[in-house]
Subunit: 190 residues, 2 copies
Amino acid sequence: MAEVRKRKPRSDAQKNRELLIEAAKEVLGRGGPNASLEAVARRAGVGIGTLYRHFPTREALFMAVFSRELDQLLATAEDLAEREDPLEAIRSWLHANVNLVETKRGMLGALSLVMTEDLKKGYTERSNLVLSAMDRLLEKGRSAGEIRDDVSAEDLVQTLYAICYARQPGPDWRENVLRVLDIFVDGLKR
Amino acid sequence: MAEVRKRKPRSDAQKNRELLIEAAKEVLGRGGPNASLEAVARRAGVGIGTLYRHFPTREALFMAVFSRELDQLLATAEDLAEREDPLEAIRSWLHANVNLVETKRGMLGALSLVMTEDLKKGYTERSNLVLSAMDRLLEKGRSAGEIRDDVSAEDLVQTLYAICYARQPGPDWRENVLRVLDIFVDGLKR
DNA sequence: CAATATACGGAGGCAGCCTCCGTTTTCAAG
DNA sequence: CTTGAAAACGGAGGCTGCCTCCGTATATTG
């Protein structure tokens, strides 16, 4: 099967990839999910062609940017699974998301894009891992009779990002998001 | 004050305004809130300059498109205020929104834009009327001790559109939106 | 019918999207 | 170290959309 006597990947390619991800963090952080990809390329000091070769779509770039964050979210989810009462674990996880997102407001749109549109369609395993971690948490709550059984992990994630995204930026952003999120979590009780 | 000996508004202007709104319904309905305004002008059969003269911003155009819908939403809110138990009234109003939005999926983004970004900043009276109608409903529920008192009308509207917007289009859209919305409404209980 | 206030339309300048392909660089075999 | 081919680069080019500006056309009014 594996007909794969390949060269080692070229070092310049690897380097440019990093530069692009770094630049994307910057530019998307400021300009939001519609920021110019040409601006990303400029900031990275590479040609626009190079950007497109590495990341054929906007989403692919976002995905790369959030790779680490997703890992962390996953770790948090798995941690929480072992410990607390499930409803509070879910609440904590959602809060953790808000904290993470708070420092990268501009990327929020990108993240929610990645977590919903793109990955929701089943494309990347990483997001599926996150989803199934949440599913386990939900299941635990359900069998304890604590959580209603008409909610899915997707519901949680989509609603989380929906709320984060819809809120007006401003000094009260965090406070408002957490407040509305808590209302939602309270609604999860059986 | 009113220094206003003006000519009657020109008939062609009035007609073009209608054409533009009609075209915007079409084009935004398909292409969503980022659809091309030049496409709207083309479809209306007028120059792009004419579009911009009538509607200086994208939001102004959206606003014109939704004018009637907003009236209707307002009427519904005021109706409900007189009748049911407040929590259920709110639920009904939110559901009415979903129904309204369902038939114009493409315009959802536009509507939510209008209801949140634009109007939320306090600009147009119409949306403020809607908000204060909801506020009255909330207040009624609060003083009856039925509804928690850390929720605002803006919270409701923003969350509503957030949920509608975040959901994947598809056959189950309506069902899913209503389900998640109900969870949120349940969370509103004191 | 004229005069003029109003409104029209689209060219023009700028920016972003994405593709395509000639040029450059890296790798590794000899 | 040389060398040649695989891999990667970069940006010009073609397209579309944004918005402004202003010369031209037309409805209204006396």
